[in-house]
């Protein structure tokens, strides 16, 4: 079922405005890039249901929103090794995913996760749209994610 060694995973709640940027991001990006770059998944608000995906790919590029007080649209790249390395103010679906990450560590099945987080100003509970400040920074995030995905794909295809 996996066609690439890289999974680009967007998480977030599509109903909560900018909080859902990860989902908007993967849905847009998969239409725009060359075939075979990576597999894409709209992870929505799921936690444990993502386990099979996290176990199936050696490399995961995860995209999520964070409420960390930084200006909206700030992009940060994190290489979380433990669940506590995920930003504490990460959006409301953090707990299920954090629990899953801890479980994967205990099981010795933790994949290589590259987490891109974009700061948002607030969670808008009424909207399926992104705010202009977030929309305008998505192209930059796309360039970074594509570059990393290309690197990871080519790296993965080389003999160890």
């Amino acid at each position: 079922m996996t066609s690439s060694p890289v999974l680009i995973l967007g998480i977030g709640n599509y109903l909560m405005g900018d909080e859902g940027l990860g989902v908007h991001f993967v849905n847009q990006l998969k239409e725009e890039v060359e075939p075979g770059l990576a597999d894409f998944l709209d992870g929505g608000t799921a936690g444990f249901q993502l386990m099979e995906y996290l176990e199936s790919y050696p490399n995961i590029i995860m995209i999520d929103a964070t409420l960390d007080g930084k200006p909206a649209g700030t992009i940060q790249k994190v290489k979380p090794r433990f669940s506590k390395d995920f930003p504490s103010a990460m959006s409301t679906h953090e707990i299920g995913l954090k629990d899953l990450v801890e479980g994967l560590l205990l099981l010795g099945k933790m994949p290589d996760i590259h987490l891109f987080i974009m700061s948002i100003e607030k969670i808008q509970p009424l909207s399926t749209l992104l705010s202009p400040e977030i929309e305008i920074t998505l192209p930059k995030l796309k360039r970074e994610v594509i570059e990393l995905a290309r690197h990871l794909s080519s790296h993965a295809s080389q003999p160890a």
Binding site: N13, T45, I95, L105, L106, G108
Partner: protein
């Protein structure tokens, strides 16, 4: 008197906060507040009713399928669409997979940690652990070497100090009563359940096309099925579903239930704590014929009042004097004022936040204090969920329910009144999982029988086009979510959604007080709960978690002056 604030952040959505007043080591009054608002109703207004399932499926990351199911049923009810038998059966299988998955995950990954002391497991004797494990189950992973290896791995992680599960919680609290060996079995199965849970959700991927957030369809299901179809769901895929369901049943019978029965005897005092309302409400689901044929529900519908199991009251979701939502303590306003209750077809969702500006110490519980409305059934506060379902099935005289309930009561040597408790709620969840995992195989056989007899219809598209619809139509769709009775009410006008109201299980259970000041299920269940140490109120977590509140908690603790003294992250 001390006031404790438990302000949990949620696992997936919304926030829930509990404020409890403690006097002489017991909870005197408790207040439950939903502190986050979603307003899905406003997002749906004006949209195509056929798309509603996809939006409501995003309300929650755990319960996506049950919301989608209630939604398509509400639309089908409004438009009088008859669903083909195969689609009913596939929906039942999706229901069963969700129910089993949710209950096992809840038990091991949320609730077990209220009873199982993870750190104590490090002190267990692997050989003794193995003997206990083999005495309670035939589950193969039970050798001394297995437990010894696991223990070494755990020790390494504990020493690294990197894992929240070992750093947090109330490990060492005197309320933890299990021997180290049973704690080790609990931790082993915590990890095995994590591995197992990813299998059963594949049933959703197969029938729903994708996960998370599988596809649903007004009029049927969005999958094609036949034994020799190479692209759709064929004999091979169906055999895989069969295997997944059998594995699930095996895990429930050989791991979940033996663990439940091994842990329970150490906590029998919880068979007299946390009972609460004594009123139970079930809408019912899982028909062996058709969803509209309520007589054939595996989960019978009905209401129980005042713990009286001799009388099952009928429930009518269309009757505007039965289910009503009130707002005397909710941050909303109704055109008719705070004194009225509205049936969901006439429901209004207009926010009016009058609470304190966060961050704040305490809510003013005399005034409005929650974003949850207060639903009532014929004026009564009701508990929904596995305990309600098991009690209604049991009180209806259904053999399958009687068998699992009576045999469990006799194994634990407790009276039937122990069902009305925190322990009863937790046990009922396990008991219904046994039943659901058996029923799933029956539904599977029924589906195969239909397909073999040549019936491969999966959707009825006769009334899918809006041109075929009446100018206006109203419908209600219900199901039994893992956490309890769930219904969606829809009002369609000119082919668009005019009004849409969800009354979800947690609204029943976690809502604030009503017009008469009567508490809802959480508030009622917490009353009189003993609290040994107000700085570590694990007792509150036990009872709230027994409802499966779909959230993890960050507990903020306050001293008697209401000053913030500590914050403990609780798994």
């Amino acid at each position: 008197m001390a006031r404790i604030v438990v302000d949990p952040i949620t696992r997936i959505e919304g926030h829930l906060r509990i404020e409890a007043e403690i006097n002489n080591g017991k909870i005197e009054e408790a207040y439950s507040s939903g502190t986050m608002v979603r307003l899905i109703e406003e997002i749906l207004r004006g949209r195509d009713p056929r798309d509603a399932w996809a939006f409501v499926g995003r309300v929650c990351g755990v319960c996506t399928t049950v919301h989608s199911l209630a939604s398509i049923r509400a639309v089908e009810d409004a438009l009088k669409i008859v669903v083909p038998p195969n689609a009913e059966l596939v929906r039942n299988l999706m229901f069963c997979a969700q129910n089993i998955h949710d209950h096992v995950v809840h038990f091991y990954h949320l609730h077990a940690l209220d009873w199982v002391d993870v750190v104590s497991a490090l002190k267990a004797d692997p050989k003794k652990t193995s003997e206990i494990a083999q005495s309670i189950s035939h589950w193969p992973k039970s050798s001394p070497g297995y437990f010894s290896d696991l223990q070494k791995r755990l020790t390494k992680f504990v020493e690294s100090g990197q894992l929240g599960i070992f750093a947090n919680g109330y490990w060492g609290h005197p309320a933890y009563k299990l021997p180290a060996e049973i704690n080790l079995i609990g931790v082993a199965h915590y990890l095995e359940a994590l591995e197992w849970q990813k299998e059963i959700v594949k049933v959703h991927t197969i029938f729903g096309g994708k996960k998370p957030h599988p596809n649903f369809l007004v009029g049927g299901m969005a999958c094609s099925i036949s034994l020799d179809d190479s692209s759709g769901i064929n004999a091979e895929r169906l055999a895989y579903v069969h295997q997944l369901l059998k594995q699930a049943k095996e895990f429930v019978e050989q791991v979940y239930i033996p663990d439940l029965l091994a842990i329970a005897p150490y906590y029998l005092d919880w068979g007299a704590i946390g009972g609460g309302l004594g009123n139970y409400l079930v809408y019912g689901d899982l028909s062996t014929s058709s969803y509209t044929d309520t007589q054939n529900y595996k989960f019978p519908a009905g209401a129980i009042l005042n713990k009286d199991l001799s009388k099952i009251h009928e429930v009518d979701l269309r009757n505007d004097s039965e289910v009503q939502e009130f707002i005397p303590h909710s941050w909303y306003e109704y055109a008719g004022g705070d004194g009225v209750g509205l049936h969901p077809w006439k429901g209004e969702t207009k926010l009016n936040y009058t609470g304190p500006k966060p961050p704040f110490d305490h809510l003013n519980v005399e005034e409005k204090y929650s974003f949850l409305k207060t639903p009532r059934w014929k004026g009564n506060a009701m508990e929904v969920g596995p305990l309600a379902r098991v009690l209604v099935g049991y009180a209806s005289g259904r053999e399958d329910f009687k068998e699992v309930v009576d045999s469990t009561l006799s194994k634990l040597n407790v009276p039937a009144t122990a069902l009305f408790s925190t322990l009863g709620r937790t046990a009922a969840r396990g008991l219904e999982t046994i039943l659901v995992s058996q029923w799933a195989l029956e539904f599977y056989d029924q589906l195969i029988g239909n397909i073999k007899s040549g019936d491969t219809r999966m959707a009825n598209m006769e009334k899918f086009k809006p041109e075929t619809w009446p100018a206006s139509a109203m419908g209600v769709g219900h199901t039994e979510a893992p956490r309890g009775a769930l219904a969606h009410w829809i009002d369609i006008e000119d082919q668009k959604i005019k009004n849409y109201q969800l009354v979800v299980p947690s609204t029943w259970n976690a809502s604030p007080r009503d017009l008469e000041g009567k508490p809802s299920a959480y508030e009622s269940a917490l009353k009189d709960t003993p609290i040994a140490d107000i700085n570590k109120p694990v007792e509150i977590l036990r009872t709230i978690h027994s409802f499966d509140p779909c959230l993890a908690c960050a507990v903020h603790l306050y001293d008697e002056d209401g000053k913030h003294v500590n914050k403990v992250q609780v798994l």
